[in-house]
Symmetry: C2
Subunit: 113 residues, 2 copies
Amino acid sequence: MTQPLYQVKAEFFRTLGHPARIRILELLAERDHAVHELLEQIEIEQSNLSQQLAVLRRAGLVSQQRAAGEVTYTLALPLVRDLLRTAREVLLDQVTGQGALQAALRDSLHESA
Amino acid sequence: MTQPLYQVKAEFFRTLGHPARIRILELLAERDHAVHELLEQIEIEQSNLSQQLAVLRRAGLVSQQRAAGEVTYTLALPLVRDLLRTAREVLLDQVTGQGALQAALRDSLHESA
DNA sequence: TTAGCACCTGATGTTTTCTTCAAGTGACGA
DNA sequence: TCGTCACTTGAAGAAAACATCAGGTGCTAA
């Protein structure tokens, strides 16, 4: 019944691996949002948004609460903010090519190049 | 031609969203590994491993170098180590239920509960 | 130059994920 | 109670990702 750890991790990352879901999480990282607010920011159909929110709910990444006739979503795991920030850093690193540069530098320490 | 940022991010996370690829990255986070070494640790077929390595290569997450008749893979972006660590923290947070607890605590600061 | 090891690639059938549509629920005001 | 607003759910076809197989490349050593 217990899944291997690397499978849980993979599933977790796959949950983040969707444009709409990333946008949702980034918006929620700023502040809580009602569904209709998310809908304004993200150009997908309402029912599709609901589906994606359901995926995030099932994964335990967001939680919802109903109030004043609207449903508001919250980031269930505050640490996700850090994860998103780190991911941005990785992508920045990749884009500026510093990744390759650092690797080359590191190699030059124990190669004769 | 230029893809929206959230799509790039989603693609990035999707690349991490596979059990074998996660294992590869975690092994490479420890130290460089030759393909046959990876094969010993991960229970998939050789050709499948190659496919997954190709995915990681295309995504720019790993790089390969040939030496002494074997191909060795390296983590191309050192920051990926941090990302994997943060992801572990998030999952730990989720599992211990501290996510919900922290959220409740945070809420209790500006609600009257 | 041939053999063999280490690894990569392309094609193919299968599973999974996505999007969309249609129908459904639940709270609230008229 | 009826309608409506805000949102969710289920089903189904389309698209993407996977695993596997067969064949291929490149290096090394005999």
